[in-house]
Symmetry: C2
Subunit: 208 residues, 2 copies
């Protein structure tokens, strides 16, 4: 760590790598670029991370560790109600998609395909991220009791919700539009029999 | 066209480009590689296609033209029943995912993200492919009458089904597993109240 530097070198390297991987992908990002962005030297990088692949795994592991704080927690903080939590979660992805000018949606989903072949350790972190996401949402659904139609399994519903998020983000990025996202959310609300007040939806629509 | 060549040069170039784009992506594929694979010369390629981008658009346009023949038709041919058609369609993607060793699922979906920034004309073909897919499935759902729960819009259901396919293929590729795919199909069947005989499902399970 450099003297008087408020951010430890390891974190600066992780922050820079995360930003660059998100902006341009893993393969397109060179170690030299990460060093330049982070202001770290090559010795530090290889001291903390044995390789670019190890750095990728560390970036993904940090996403896993921060899933609650960054993604699930803010949605859960909106309401005690599972339906409102899920809608807030979807709304967060929708806002990220727009804020990134349709270039990004879910930092782990964006990297998932590219790194599947690169590294089994990276793949493991992606799987853990998705599983933890599903576990979190399953917990909301279970805690709310009767928010699902009869015979509807909370764990499978959570997986379906993740799948819809990822599929909608993909189409949203490809088509530079939030329309597929909105159509799917509306349709899910019908199928899951979530006929809430519509207050949130009006709010969401106004933000367009 | 070379004399006695059964496949016209333009098609050989398109076939090679399609194979290479699918196997390694658009950006990673060089024109020289397409020429080598197709056995065409550079003059022919630039005669038929003004640029690599034009070639990409032509590949995507061919996918659009062949959507019925390659994807929707085979599923529709399985049954007159919309539910069975949709399940056959999903099963086709599932088989492609496995056959490609989890590297590919939907040729257009695989390219969609990579080319979104490359070319508005390519993006337009991707949008058309997705829209035609949804229109086709909507047609099945409408023709079958009562295959959807009350108040369920066929167009939005078709978009949701496309979204689930794309999200499930993404997870399937990332995790090298058909499990997310199967969980989502099972859950969709419950939500759409598709409680058919289970014959197809047993068959699908056996093929694992």
């Amino acid at each position: 760590m450099r003297r008087n530097d408020p951010v430890p070198t390891r974190d600066r390297i992780l922050d820079a790598a995360q930003r660059l991987f998100e902006a341009q992908g893993y393969n397109a990002t060179g170690v030299a670029e990460i060093l330049r962005e982070s202001g770290a030297n090559s010795g530090s990088l290889y001291h903390f991370f044995g390789s670019k692949e190890d750095l990728l795994v560390a970036v993904l592991r940090r996403h896993v560790e921060r899933l609650d704080q960054d993604i699930l927690g803010p949605a859960a903080g909106q309401s005690e109600d599972a339906v409102e939590r899920v809608l807030a979660l979807f709304d967060g992805y929708r806002r990220s998609l727009r804020a990134s000018d349709f270039r990004s949606g879910c930092p782990v989903g964006d990297l998932a395909l590219e790194v599947a072949d690169v590294s089994p350790a990276a793949q493991e972190q992606v799987a853990k991220y998705f599983d933890d996401w599903c576990d979190g949402v399953r917990g909301w659904l279970e805690a709310s009791g009767n928010c699902l139609p009869p015979n509807t399994d909370p764990a499978r519903t959570a997986r379906l919700l993740l799948t819809v998020v990822q599929g909608a983000l993909m189409q949203g990025r490809a088509l530079r539009s939030v329309a597929p996202f909105d159509e799917c959310v509306d349709q899910l609300r019908v199928l899951l029999q979530w006929r809430s007040s519509g207050g949130r939806r009006t709010k969401r629509r106004r933000r367009r």
